[in-house]
Symmetry: none
DNA sequence: CATGAATGAGTGTTCATTCAT
DNA sequence: AATGAATGAACACTCATTCAT
């Protein structure tokens, strides 16, 4: 039975992921309200009714999309920070670049904009996202900043605030891409943008013997 | 009679502003698609039909909200940049603080998040916003950066990119407040946040090795 | 007072006619349901509210349009039939041509199509129209046919039916002009059409010594 | 089970025809603009939404009504003309009588009045009707007239004009029935009317002095 | 498991009608 | 008399959700 109809079995297992993948694409493209479940189903190659075999409602689907999309992202970052040997400036640079490569290359890149758009309509989900993603992401940056300040490499800025200040341009780069940037409203070469940001931020961070 | 039952004339004058004010609140609260025109009308104390005496469509109302809310702020900013006498660093600091006071203190602060959420579904609005707000806002920052670089006060960063990099944290402060921040997901003291950002950014910008 | 503000007086007198004239044009152009009272008022150069000083409702206006438009049309026809000296064939020809010139040149030409379109929604008005216009119009044709048959000029057709059979193409010419003809769906040169009709009808009517 | 609760399949097959039938009745009764889709659905025993499973819009429904109702009638007419063996006068007589039986005996008879009423407000429908119905109907009459003239049976009238002149009374018979005739404004026995018309028209058409 | 036909609540928009000025 | 701002009922159309097959 396992070998006789493997595709059916496999299908059954894979369905939810296929559905959330299709939903992610459409939610990112059109937003939650403007996405029709019929389109999600069509993109996943199933019928509208099938969606309801796996998700109780549009809202449940949305929650699944966010949850599935997010879990795998943050682990590597923690490994990097744990094991990095070079300067804290280099570590910050590397972390942000890695993150960009992992998320920016993907439909997942639309999630931050999606969460921002829908947070108020789904407060519990926002809380979940905050606990699961944002808090952990902040932790990574916190460790880098504390590492840098502790070693005398960075100035003693307000760490909790600096975390968000420093990450804000990176988020905006992504948010822009999935909102006005998608309407032909200009935009940036990510490379140049990230370079400029890191240049400015690290110039702002690093402690120098400027004035004697 | 003049004060108790405001004359038709006066009412007619005031209506559009009352309506856009009500609309701004609801658009910011619920988003464009989820806002019912009937609710906008009710909040302004009129009937649904009355809305259509002043605005041709929901989209036109949205446009008016943007137009009335944001354009005056940009004009003030332009005046400031035109007439400022002190250092470019101070000018940047002042512009951003002014902007924060004007926009962050009232419902207008929700507009950036609103535009980001709705841009892809209403490309004409996005184009309008881009032309009316973003382009002009960038121009202000461009002038400050060029002024600072030209006078040797700032390092020669890539201006077009730096504009957005520098403004990104300010935008994120607002976006956060109107999305996850509204769900009890933490957030920042704006004062401290802006202080930290300007501290970092100006540290990053100013050319320090000029003075031995 | 009569001389001091004559235009006001005259205006007051003329208003209803101006309004029904404007309404006739629009009813004929768009039909009853699709005509907006605001447009009627605008075309008459007054405000929407003014309409209601003269007519209780859209329906009342419609009734007035039909009644005013119709009364003056039929009198001349009766005079013609009363006094005509030539053959009955010539009389028929002349009556139809006259009617065409009087009605076809005018916005009144749209009334038959209008009545046909709205009769079922305004049955009392239809009855009025039937009594006032159709019955009298038939009477004219009846007299001509009886005159012709009585004099041996026409064959002894069924008079009551022939009346309508003979008038039908004339009506259709008008109805077409105000319906599909207005959509670029072809149509006829009225001259040729009427000529062909009269040619056929009189060929059909006149008694000839065909078969010995 | 098969007969009591008709299977989904069978239902699905029958639905469009049930819907167009209900729509035809209501369009004919109230006109296009005054017909509510909810009433159409109710008359067909379904909900409003179901209509949209089968027709994209009110206009599409209208188009389907025309299409399904009239086209088969024209095809029958074409078959008749193709295969008819007798005289052209008899053919004309037969065609018109057949047409009357097929169209005049059911709700389809209201379509000409419907088209006339709505043509100007829905030019695309008018164009569609013109192409689909009028042009083809004319073609049938054209062939009969040319056949008769070619064979010396009919006089050499202007064919293009005569087509419409000859069909006009038949149309008027229907138009009357569905407009003023429905308001108790008199009317004709169709048998007598058609007889009188054909009598007159064929008397007008046939070349009588051919046989001495 | 999977389908897709059916539902019906919901909303943007129009327009005849009213009435304070 | 005349205005035109305000009303609110009405309707086409959409789409999440259900359920018989």
């Amino acid at each position: 039975m396992d070998t006789l109809a493997p595709s059916r079995q496999r299908r059954k297992q894979a369905r939810p992921a296929e559905l959330t993948a299709a939903a992610l694409e459409l939610f990112v493209e059109k937003g939650f309200a403007a996405t029709r479940l019929e389109d999600v189903a069509a993109r996943a190659g199933v019928s509208k009714g099938t969606l309801y075999l796996y998700f109780d409602s549009k809202e449940a689907l949305f929650k699944a999309v966010i949850q599935e999309g997010i879990v795998p992202v943050l682990e590597q970052g923690a490994d990097l920070v744990d094991s990095y040997q070079g300067s804290s400036a280099e570590l910050l640079r590397t972390l942000i670049r890695e993150w960009w490569l992992r998320v920016g290359a993907n439909h997942l890149g639309g999630v931050p904009k999606l969460m921002i758009s829908e947070a108020r309509n789904f407060p519990q989900l926002a809380a979940y996202y905050n606990d699961t993603v944002i808090t952990r992401g902040r932790e990574l940056l916190r460790r880098i900043l504390l590492r840098g300040i502790g070693g005398g490499e960075f100035r003693a800025v307000d760490v909790e605030t600096a975390i968000d200040v420093i990450f804000a341009p990176v988020l905006m780069l992504l948010i822009w891409r999935y909102s006005l940037g998608a309407c032909g409203c200009g935009g940036h070469d990510p490379e140049l943008y990230l370079h400029t940001h890191l240049d400015l931020a690290l110039h702002g961070l690093v402690a120098r013997e400027v004035r004697p």
